[in-house]
Symmetry: C2
Subunit: 223 residues, 2 copies
DNA sequence: GAACCGATTTTGATTAATCAAAATTAAATC
DNA sequence: GATTTAATTTTGATTAATCAAAATCGGTTC
């Protein structure tokens, strides 16, 4: 049986959820799963039991869910298709990085292996999508590097934006207009707990202040 | 309510079915619909009633079904997406004309208007897909020209292949290897009722004989 | 240890899409 | 006009995916 779009979305959500768990944690809670998929909690429970039944996940009642290696394999392929499609839409089709997520969310379920591999080739086997999210290999390996956020990186030190972990179009447009896209270099000048703000020095020494919540969505590496 | 993939497939099948009806006929029979969609006849009846209920089709029990103008509008858009995607996959992605139909069958349900119109632009507003099938306009107009087949065109007269009405991969590869693709010029030298065969003069005066069934799938225009 | 609370699971129901097989109808044949 | 046949419709059932609301659980609080 080939997995339905619904099953693929569940697997992808669990897969991504697992990578975001606090170290030591290994189970994605039902509530989180239901919330990212936009479904009722009871529905998540029912579906996850079915996933477990078909050998794609391990379900621990009241604790959460994780993928088996079979489930991981499938999830990685969906995520690969999603991220390759996003990059393709930006690089080849000339779409904006803030509008490709929704298209990819659908395309990830229907593009054939043939087409995906042709896209991968056309793009030169890229390692990351337009938002800096790593693209799993055809074999299902995902290279998740540990990265600082603008809340944890060193002060007064040039860093390169590596990844933006929010698909909201308005947020992405804000990032772009302030020259904070992946690849661009910036510096954190100050953090203030009380005002919940982070002050940055950007391109051309432009100064700007953003909230801590927003700052936590910008992942950076030493540059 | 936006139509499901299932509904889109029904609408497309009825729409294409209508264009293939003998002149005068206006209803697509349930049996034909069920057969092209690969479903049980009873399922077609049930679904068509639902389409009629939602104002997309007119259903006459025991006689068949036709689309309302609302249904036609939707069907034309699905067909437009299908045929544009096929051409895109061939021209931009370098896929073969015999392998794009299945991909397009899925993609037609998920590509956004944004993406379709970008593809249309990228291809220069093409009028036909790789098989010569006309592409409906964004406004839903379909330019179906009346064409001869190799069974009805004049003998000993150069004609240009305009359209191949069979998506079977093996058949399409045969057509291609014998230089009978849309755009290529040929001549019918003879038809024989008894042997059910048609003799052609192709490129470089190559002679070949094909069956009447196959000949009826090659549509041509005077050249 | 009892009471509470938030998260989770269960229950009962709905909708879309499908099938197999029985029943019916329309049209053709005798 | 009665009979046969092929197409169509009806019936009864199934599967996947979902929800709302009630019930339950596990882990704090008091
Ligand atoms: Mn999706
Ligand atoms: Mn992305
Ligand atoms: Mn389709
Ligand atoms: Mn075609």
């Amino acid at each position: 049986m080939l997995p339905s779009s619904t099953v693929e979305n569940y697997l992808k959500a669990i897969y991504v959820g697992e990578t975001q768990l606090a170290n030591g944690q290994k189970l994605v809670p039902m509530g989180q799963l239901a919330s990212v998929l936009g479904i009722a909690p009871g529905t998540a429970t029912t579906m996850v039991k079915a996933l477990a039944e078909s050998g794609l996940a391990v379900y621990e009642p009241y604790n959460g869910v994780r993928l088996t290696s079979a489930g991981e394999k499938l999830a990685a392929r969906v995520l690969r298709r999603h991220r390759l499609m996003e990059l393709f839409l930006v690089q080849v089709m000339g779409m904006r990085w803030d509008e490709v997520h929704d298209d990819a969310e659908q395309l990830e379920h229907v593009v054939s292996d043939r087409l995906v591999e042709r896209i991968d080739e056309m793009l030169g086997h890229p390692e990351a999508d337009p938002h800096g999210d790593p693209i799993p290999t055809a074999e299902g390996k995902l290279a998740e590097r540990p990265l600082d956020t603008l809340l944890t990186c060193p002060l007064h030190t040039p860093v390169t934006v590596a990844r933006v972990t929010d698909q909201d179009a308005a947020f992405l447009r804000f990032i772009e207009s302030h020259h904070l896209k992946p690849g661009q270099t910036i510096e954190v000048e100050a953090r203030d707990e009380v005002s919940d703000a982070v002050r940055l020095k950007g391109r051309d020494d432009a100064r700007m202040t953003i909230g801590a919540r927003a700052a936590s969505k910008l992942l950076v590496k030493a540059s």
